[in-house]
């Protein structure tokens, strides 16, 4: 008896449970991208906001004006092309760096005694909880000409003049690997800790040497973790702005920095929008790879 009105209530609750987050995300996540796309096709103007409308209605006719000039500019101007290439190169090298350093770390944590694992993972994650701005700032003090490294080296007598490290690409590599390392370790650890140990024992029983076992069994089985971790590093690094701005020099050209300058310094909103759209286009493959891995790993736990 009592259940009937409640049953009627259920679809309503269901409606709100889906409806609220759905509306929010459409409004504040999907719609903004549509607007970026729209502005990337408009003509810059000296006005507020600094671009012209896409369509005009006058004399009973609708004029739709799609300006492809911004995209042409993005693809033809060597500044932008070099910034994209610089970002991709930076993202590629730092992803490899994070992988080379992070994989053994994740492996060691996954092999540690169970009760130590949570503490070790917490220790890896803890730095990424503190302000990343402050961690980048810490490197400014370490790498600068009168910073810790140069001081120690000069005190030891290894060098007589400080080595220029801050404001170079080297500093940007260090800063990015440092900041993104935990994002590489976490998915790798999640993957490696689920690895079936009996497979490794079987390989050893059959006479496989450890390095061989690693290449033939451990590495292929952790492919999902490697992909997820690499994408979690690669994608945000392509758009990175703060690290090249603080640690890099004039020659460390990255697209996130250029976009920021176009938007805030030159106030060219249409070009900034097309830069963002092209960046998204470059990232479509890595983003799909990441999503595929994530939905796969989510299904596995069901």
């Amino acid at each position: 008896m009592k259940k009937n009105p409640l049953k009627l209530l259920f679809p309503k609750g269901r409606f709100w449970t889906i409806g609220i987050p759905y509306f929010w995300l459409l409004m504040f996540f999907a719609l903004p991208f549509a607007i970026v796309l729209k502005i990337s096709l408009s003509t810059p103007a000296i006005a507020i906001p600094p671009y012209e409308a896409l369509y005009q209605y006058a004399d009973e006719s609708l004029h739709i004006l799609l300006n492809l000039g911004n995209y042409l500019l993005v693809f033809q101007d060597s500044l932008y092309v070099n910034a994209y290439l610089g970002s991709l190169k930076m993202a590629f090298i730092t992803t490899i760096g994070c992988l080379l350093l992070g994989y053994p770390m994740a492996y060691a944590i996954a092999r540690a005694p169970k009760q130590h694992q949570t503490v070790l993972i917490l220790l890896v994650m803890l730095p990424s909880w503190t302000s990343f701005l402050i961690r980048v700032y810490a490197w400014m003090g370490i790498l600068s000409n009168n910073g810790v490294i140069n001081n120690v080296l000069m005190w030891l007598g290894v060098i007589s003049d400080p080595i220029q490290m801050l404001n170079t690409n080297f500093a940007v590599y260090i800063g990015i690997i440092y900041t993104y390392l935990p994002f590489m370790i976490l998915p790798l650890y999640a993957n490696l800790s689920q690895l079936d140990g009996s497979l490794l024992e079987a390989a050893a029983d059959l006479g496989s040497r450890s390095l061989n076992t690693f290449w033939k069994i451990t590495l292929p089985l952790s492919k999902g973790g490697v992909i997820a971790g690499s994408m979690l590093v690669f994608i945000p690094v392509v758009g990175e702005f703060v690290i090249p701005e603080l640690l890099g020099g004039p020659d460390s050209l990255m697209i996130g920095k250029v976009l920021w300058q176009e938007f805030f310094n030159n106030r060219d909103w249409p070009v900034a929008s097309s830069l963002a759209i092209v960046m998204l286009g470059l990232l479509i493959i890595p983003i799909t790879l990441f999503h595929r891995y994530q939905s796969k790993s989510m299904e596995k736990t069901v």
Binding site: I18, P21, V36, N151, L181, L259
Partner: protein
Amino acid sequence: MNNRLNKPSFSTIMLWAGMFFLYAPMFILVFYSFNESKLVTVWGGFSAKWYGELFRDEQILDAVWTSLKVAFFASTMAVILGTMAAFVMTRFARSWGRMTLSNMITAPLVMPEVITGLSLLLLFVHMADLFGWPAERGMLTVWIAHSTFCAAYVAVVVSSRLRELDMSIEEAAQDLGATPLKTFFYITVPMISPALIAGWLLSFSLSLDDLVIASFASGPGATTLPMVVFSSVRMGVSPKINALATLIILMVSLIAFISWYMARRADKRSRMASD
């Protein structure tokens, strides 16, 4: 036996080298925050005077307050949105709607911040143009931006917890006549509360930390702490920022320790209950 075969030496060495790499810069920073000298990297004796300077800096104090307010409200909203989305992702039948929702909610996890920030700013400008709201960008717009990207993290944390839950308890409650709403608040919420707290704390620290999205979404009225730090750091290294950084590191370590301790206690309790 296994250990010997897996070359523990190399990976363990790498683990400690990596930990050193992660922590050395922060220890150096904390050490130099007690430097008497005005030059950040020249040691001039032990002093806590920069902490005093820090607490006299109105601009920084204002920014701290703004950041804390935004982070508090954004993480609360993110927990609400993220939990609802996680519930849809784990409890509702697979459908087109569920797919798009889970794609949309996890997308901010990897989206480059400049793109998210730029697109949100353009949205706010458009909305102001069309119906005059938001009249100017400030705390409200930063709150919206932070809620959106923090919800992604909450959804991931909460949905993994929801998947582990034994659904028969919820079903039993409903069979005994509890409404879905009642079941949710009396049965599900207490069971997922560690994940809710973890998601809230994670969102709080993410919101406190965010510079890029806040720079795009905020107006002249709302300057968050990372924005102040960024503009002062761009001018050069300053000992006051060392002191501030030390306090932030201390606070975060404390929060991390508390959440770890609570998670461990909850884990122990649930293990005792199941024994």
